[in-house]
Symmetry: C2
């Protein structure tokens, strides 16, 4: 039920449409919680039924109408109650590591190619997180409490990407000892 709560948290900032929530998920909370827009629309319907949010339709002539959702008193209470209940441990699904478990029984060049792709992926994300960090959080010590939470999310993103990037290099060295290290970009 945590998607609903992630939406509640996002609505703390301001009322938003499902579409906006989806975009914001990709750009912010998306580092550690992904949700498709379908999932968000469905969840919003459920949340409205539960009285956690209320919606207002804003007519638009050229585009489809916007349905703006805002937090209700009950939604706020649900959020507080959720914060009080202990978190689940993080859930990770690392398909690549499952494949690596088959190392020795499956085609090694394929795994090397996958590792290279993953390396590039983490490099991209790291660059993206670091640019957001430089732009929005130049001095972490002086942030308002609100921005501190966001900073910490970004910070973990950066640390994790660096770690995984380094691991990719180790893995490539171990899996394809002969190959030239990839330093592209």
């Amino acid at each position: 039920m945590a998607l609903a709560h992630a939406i509640l948290v996002s609505l703390l900032d301001r009322p938003q449409t499902g579409y906006e929530l989806g975009k914001r998920f990709d750009q912010t909370v998306g580092y550690f919680w992904k949700a498709s827009h379908q999932q968000i629309y469905q969840e919003l319907h459920k949340m409205a039924k539960a009285g956690w949010v209320q919606s207002e339709t804003v007519a638009q002539s050229d585009k489809p109408n916007r349905i703006v959702y805002e937090l209700t008193e009950r939604g706020r209470e649900a959020l507080d109650a959720w914060v009080e209940t202990p978190c689940d441990p993080p859930s990770v699904k690392e398909e690549l590591l499952v494949k690596l478990f088959a190392l020795g029984d499956v085609d090694t060049p394929t795994l090397v190619a996958e590792l290279r792709r993953r390396r590039a992926y983490h490099q991209d994300r790291l660059a993206w997180y670091e640019s957001v960090m430089a732009e929005h959080y130049p001095e972490p010590g002086k942030l308002s409490p609100r921005k501190r939470g966001r900073y910490l999310g970004l910070r973990l993103g950066i640390l994790s990407e660096r770690t995984t990037l380094g691991w990719c290099d180790e893995a490539l060295a171990l899996v394809a000892p002969g190959a030239r290290p990839s330093r592209r970009k």
Copy 2:
């Protein structure tokens, strides 16, 4: 569909029962892929229907019968085909970071308590991974290809836990600047 493939990989080693698969998931692949035993039993039924595995019932007098599954030729082919298809990017669900996004709008001591719990969790896991590493992988350079894959899984586990542990300390310093750092244990 990746749980099925994770099971196929595990069955490469040797035929196993659902129960054994569940235990092995916790101990090995479980670092980066969790599955309950219900999920595994259900998946095994589906895989048997698809012809990826075949089962043999071993009668036991004192305990319930064991149903031992082994890889079939078709399962082996499915595994190879899956290895060839590019991985999904890793899926992460970090409830704690969603809560931190609400920092400034919700009770801070609760978040501090959560961070402390998480710190302890990562410390435990790190200790566990490091003990496995010391016992089973003392010299990573000399491992067989098969063990290299498992080593790399464990290695990423250790690196990730260290990273997250360090991040917990940063987060605690930033969220509860007055508090004494927790050095218990």
